[in-house]
């Protein structure tokens, strides 16, 4: 789980960097570039899918095993260290999973809101206008809300997941542990800010179509 998680974190990092090209007006060029190397795109998709399947399979098994091992019958239970994030990994994970499906249907397969899809519109250079698609969509409140909510789930998931993956891989000791916990949270927050900045800024109409 730690390995698959870390690979996916890598993807999430690259993804947010790609997204941010929107702010400098380079999103369409970035998208075009990606499309021009299909092996890269497909290899990434396959690897990510594999990681996802393994990750989800393991996490569901883990959760079931853990629930069985501790039926939580305490009348009073005080958690000293466990956080909301650490206790709800399965739920934040499932939210992210559901969002992933939505996100792919939305921006990749264009089943949702097809009228706004990039392939239907081209920009001045004749490229599919990804920028316009993104901006048009995020001007809708409900869509922005879905994306922001999903990113909150991601924030929580990674806030625990990043440091947890280092511990599970044994890449940890007394000195590193507090640092890794802090660094994991900071990375999670940065990713969160990076992702929500697009819908937030668009919705607040700071960038117009």
């Amino acid at each position: 789980m730690a390995v698959t998680g870390q690979v996916m974190i890598l993807f999430v990092l690259i993804h947010v960097l790609g997204n941010s090209t929107l702010f400098v007006g380079g999103l369409n060029a970035y998208a075009e570039k990606l499309r021009s190397i299909p092996p890269l795109v497909w290899a990434t998709r396959i690897v990510m899918l594999a990681m996802l399947i393994v990750h989800v399979y393991l996490s569901i098994r883990l959760t079931l095993e853990n629930n069985r091992a501790n039926p939580e019958l305490y009348a009073v239970k005080k958690h000293l260290k466990a956080t909301f994030a650490s206790k709800n990994m399965i739920w934040t994970g499932l939210v992210i999973g559901a969002f992933l499906v939505y996100h792919l249907l939305h921006f990749t397969i264009h089943v949702i809101n097809p009228e706004m899809s990039a392939s239907m519109n081209v920009d001045a250079l004749g490229r599919p206008d990804v920028s316009a698609m993104v901006i048009a969509n995020f001007q809708t409140f409900s869509i922005s809300l879905i994306y922001i909510a999903a990113m909150i789930a991601l924030l929580l998931h990674l806030a625990h997941g990043i440091q947890s993956s280092f511990q599970t891989l044994g890449l940890n000791n007394d000195r590193m542990l507090p640092l890794i916990i802090k660094a994991g949270s900071i990375v999670a927050v940065i990713l969160f800010m990076g992702y929500i900045s697009i819908p937030a800024i668009i919705f607040l109409e700071l960038i117009k179509g």
Partner: protein
């Protein structure tokens, strides 16, 4: 001081249990928590009520027998303190105190606050030792061990096997207990020859005994009366990866 206790009472493993309310009157601040329960029990006996069964023995914080979850925390509110070393001066007149047994699937309740922790013994039996016969060993100083290694081994060896880590873990995992033993022996040259086998056997046994997995909440370290650290779990994980690496066991 006067206290209100809510104590888990359960006749036997198969019978249903419930929280019963008791009054603990005239408790002095010098008493230990268990002495407070002694007073309550003496009262109950005089009234003809069956006293509360609870595990305890050395009452000096080393045997690891005592095992109560007090107000939601294994061994109660004081850090690095077993129930028997917890004193009533940490409570205030009029407090309500919830007292429950360790809860985990691997620790079935025997009666009231007493649980069966033999699963921890089984973990040690699975590999928590160096396979050395009595006699025929080299001179004690023939094997040099650097002080930091010996110290870290000792840090891990301080585990008293009380099971608070399991009771605290939202997953009912015995990872901290296992990690402490694995680390103690992995840090010493005597323990290295069997290190790979040991970590595999003990991990496998954890599953068999019905303990959960570690998902790094770190509740165990916070509850541990001896301050056993979760960095030992990272060490166990490293040992496990090493074992997996080279033998594909």
């Amino acid at each position: 001081m006067d206290l209100t206790l809510y104590v888990w009472r359960q006749k036997g493993p198969e019978q249903p249990g419930r929280l019963e309310q008791y009054r603990a009157g005239n408790i002095s601040a010098e008493m230990s928590f268990l002495e407070m329960l002694d007073v309550v029990n003496d009262d109950l006996i005089r009234k003809g009520v069956e006293p509360i069964a609870f595990d305890h023995d050395c009452r000096e914080g080393i045997c690891g027998t005592c095992s109560q979850v007090i107000n939601g925390v294994p061994h109660g509110p004081e850090e690095r303190t077993t129930v028997c070393q917890l004193h009533m001066r940490h409570f205030r007149d009029g407090d309500s105190i919830y007292i429950e047994p360790w809860r985990a699937r691997a620790f079935p309740i025997i009666k009231d606050l007493i649980v069966d922790r033999s699963a921890l013994d089984h973990l040690i039996q699975a590999g928590g030792y160096v396979s050395v016969h009595t006699g025929g060993v080299p001179d004690a100083n023939a094997i040099l061990i650097s002080k930091p290694d010996a110290d870290m081994s000792m840090d891990a060896a301080e585990c008293i096997g009380c099971g608070a880590c399991v009771a605290a873990c939202p997953n009912g995992s015995a990872m901290l207990f296992t990690a402490a033993k694995v680390t103690q022996l992995a840090m010493l040259p005597q323990g290295r020859p069997e290190a790979k086998k040991r970590v595999c056997m003990m991990t496998e046994e954890m599953m068999k005994e019905g303990f959960g997995n570690c998902s790094n909440h770190y509740e165990c370290q916070a509850a541990c009366p001896k301050g056993i650290k979760v960095s030992f779990i990272a060490k166990l994980n490293r040992e496990f990866i090493k074992a997996f690496d080279s033998h594909g066991e």
